[in-house]
Amino acid sequence: MQYVTLKKERFDDFISRLAQDKKVVAPVAQDNNAYAFEPVTSGRQIAKDYIPTILPPKKYFMPQYETLATFNIGNGQQMEPVVEYERMILFGVRTCDLAGIQCLNMVFSERPKDHNYLVRKSKIIIIGYECNDYCDEYASCRLVHNHTPNGGYDLFFTDLGDKFIVHINTQAGDEIIEKTKLFEEANEKDLKALEALREKKRKIFANEVPVVHENIPQVFEKSYNSNIWEDLGKKCLSCGNCTNVCPTCYCFDVIDEPNLDLKTGKRYRRWDSCQSETFAKVAGGESFREERAARQRHRYYRKFKYPVDKFARLFCTGCGRCSRTCMAKINLKETVTALVAEQGLTDKKAGKE
C-alpha cells in the first residue's frame, strides 16, 4: 500500500504537466448540471463536483464508432484488420465507473478475446476519484458495493479538504508521481484522515434498495414473469438512452462502409441497443423480444442476473445514469425496490451499519 498527497494548489500544475505529453480527459461541466469527459489542458477546466458524466468512460474503451478493418476489393476479398487507439490519461473516474470498466474488461478478455478492446485499454491510464458523498438520488452504488474503490485504477484520488491523498496502484501510476514531482509522502495523519472519511461514508451510504446484496440474484430468479415489466413496457419509448449511457452495456452492430469508389472502405462497429425493435429481429421477420416489456426486462437481467451466472458479478455499477437520462422516468431504484417487495425480500436495515 502506497499513499502520497498532493496539495490542492498544485492540482492545476499536475494536470497541465500531464497534458504536456499526453492527452488528458476529465469531466467538464456542460449546462444543466450535466458533465462530460472531454480533453483538458489545465486543472481549472475540470468540474469540481460532478455527478456521473452523460456518457461513461466506456466511450474511450469501446468508441461509439470503431473501425475493425479496412478493405480493398479491387482484387478480391482483401481486408486488413486494424485497431484504432489513442494514448491518454483518464482523470476523475468515479468508483462506479471503475467498476464499469472492470466489467467490460471481463467481457472482452473472455475467449474469444476482443483484441481491439484490449489494445485500446492498454493505452489508457486511469486515475480514479472518490465520492465523499452521494452524487444525487439516482445512484445505487452502495447496493452493489461500488461506493468505495475496488481496484481498477493506476492512481486514486481522495479529497481530504486542503489536499488529495492518492493511492498508487500500479507501476504506471508510480511513474506519473515520479515524473510530475508534485507529490509528498503521505503521513500518519493523512492516512487517519482517509480512514475517518471512509468511516463517515459508511454512515452516509446505505443500501438504496432495501434488500440484502446477496439476495439480489434470487430476486431476479423469480421475477421473470412479474407484471412490473409490463408497466415498464408501457412507459418505455425505446429511445435507447438507458443502454447508451450505461457503463456496462456493450452490444454493437457491425457495418460495412465503402468509399465512393465502391472498392475501398472500412468495416466498423457501432453501439447498438437491445431496446431497439430491430435488435433481435431475424431475416424471417420474427423478433424474439418484440414487446417493449421484454426488452426492458432483458436489460435488467443483463445487469442483475445473467452476468452473475457467467462472471459472478453484478453488471449494474449503481451509477444511476439510466434513471437520470430516462425521459419516461423509468427508475432503476424504484424498479428493483418493487421487484424486491414483490418477492417479499424487503429488508429495511440492509446495508446500514
Binding site: N32, A34, I54, L55, S238, C239, G240, E277, A328
Partner: protein, 255 residues
C-alpha cells in the same frame, strides 16, 4: 463501366435539399466523378435522355400536374430516390392537410382561389414506388452520400429505425426533457446526427417517425412535463402529417 445517368427533379419544396448538394464543397467533384448528371434544372440547362438510371426526386406531390409528372419520371428511371423530407414524408407541405383544401386556398388567394390547383399533399411513395429514401429537412449530406453509394452498388439502404436520442446521447447533449422541453427525438428516426439538438434546439421530427413509436408512452411523458397537448400535436404534424395517409392506406396495400 459507364457511369450511371443521374437526374434531379423537384416538386413542391424549398429546393434546399438540392442546395445541400452544392454545399458539399469539393467533395461534390468526387461524387460527380462517380455519376453522370444528365438533368438538374436548378443548375443545368440540359434535359436528360428518356431512360435514366437514377432519379433523385425532391419535393412533395401537391397538384394534379405533379401526379402525372412523377409517374412519368418513375417510368423513365430504374431507381428512384426520394430526397428530403418533402419527398419522403410530405414534410412541411403536409401541414396543408390540416385544413380543408378550399379553406386554405381561399385564405391565401382570396376570391381567385379556384384558379389554384391543389390536391392533398402526398409524399412520393404515396404516389409511385420509391426505392431509396434520404430523409431530413434538409437532407444530411453524409447520409445522402451513403444512400447514393448503396444505390450505385445496388444494395438496399435502411433508414435507421432507432430514435434520434441515440445519436443525441452519443453527442452528449443535455436532454431537452431535462430542461423541461418537449423534443420529438424519441419518436423520430435517427440519421441526422441529432443536428438540431446539437445546436440547442429541439427535434421537430423532420426525418419521420420510427416505425413503431410508443405513442401512449410519449403522451404520458409529455403529460409528466406539463406541456400542453395541442402544442405537441402541432409539432408532431409539422412534418409528419402525411403519415396519416400511410396509416389510412396501408391495410389496402399488399406490401
Amino acid at each position: 463501366m459507364a457511369k450511371p445517368k443521374v437526374a434531379f427533379f423537384d416538386f413542391a419544396c424549398c429546393e434546399g435539399c438540392q442546395l445541400q448538394v452544392a454545399n458539399m464543397g469539393e467533395m461534390l467533384l468526387d461524387v460527380l466523378g462517380a455519376i453522370d448528371v444528365v438533368e438538374f434544372r436548378e443548375v443545368m440547362s440540359e434535359i436528360g435522355p428518356d431512360k435514366i438510371d437514377v432519379a433523385i426526386v425532391e419535393g412533395s406531390i401537391t397538384d394534379h400536374h405533379a401526379v402525372e409528372r412523377i409517374k412519368k419520371i418513375r417510368e423513365r428511371a430504374s431507381i428512384l430516390i426520394a430526397y428530403g423530407a418533402c419527398a419522403c414524408i410530405g414534410g412541411v407541405n403536409g401541414m396543408k392537410n390540416n385544413f380543408k383544401l378550399d379553406d386554405i386556398r381561399k385564405e391565401v388567394y382570396g376570391k381567385d382561389y379556384k384558379y389554384f390547383d391543389s390536391v392533398e399533399t402526398r409524399a412520393v411513395h404515396q404516389v409511385v414506388k420509391v426505392d431509396y429514401k434520404v430523409n431530413g429537412c434538409p437532407v444530411y449530406i453524409p447520409e445522402f452520400v451513403k444512400v447514393l453509394k448503396a444505390a450505385l452498388a445496388g444494395l438496399p439502404y435502411e433508414v435507421p429505425d432507432y430514435s434520434v436520442c441515440v445519436e443525441c446521447k452519443l453527442n452528449e447533449n443535455v436532454c431537452m426533457y431535462d430542461r423541461g422541453l418537449t423534443c420529438l427525438g424519441p419518436v423520430t428516426k435517427a440519421g441526422c446526427n441529432s443536428w438540431c439538438i446539437n445546436n440547442n434546439n429541439i427535434c421537430y421530427g423532420c426525418r419521420g417517425m420510427v416505425s413503431n413509436p410508443n405513442e401512449n408512452g410519449a403522451k404520458d411523458v409529455i403529460a409528466k412535463y406539463n406541456i400542453p397537448m395541442d402544442l405537441v400535436v402541432n409539432k408532431m404534424n409539422m412534418y409528419n402529417k402525411c403519415r396519416e395517409i400511410d396509416q389510412r392506406e396501408q391495410p389496402k396495400k399488399k406490401h
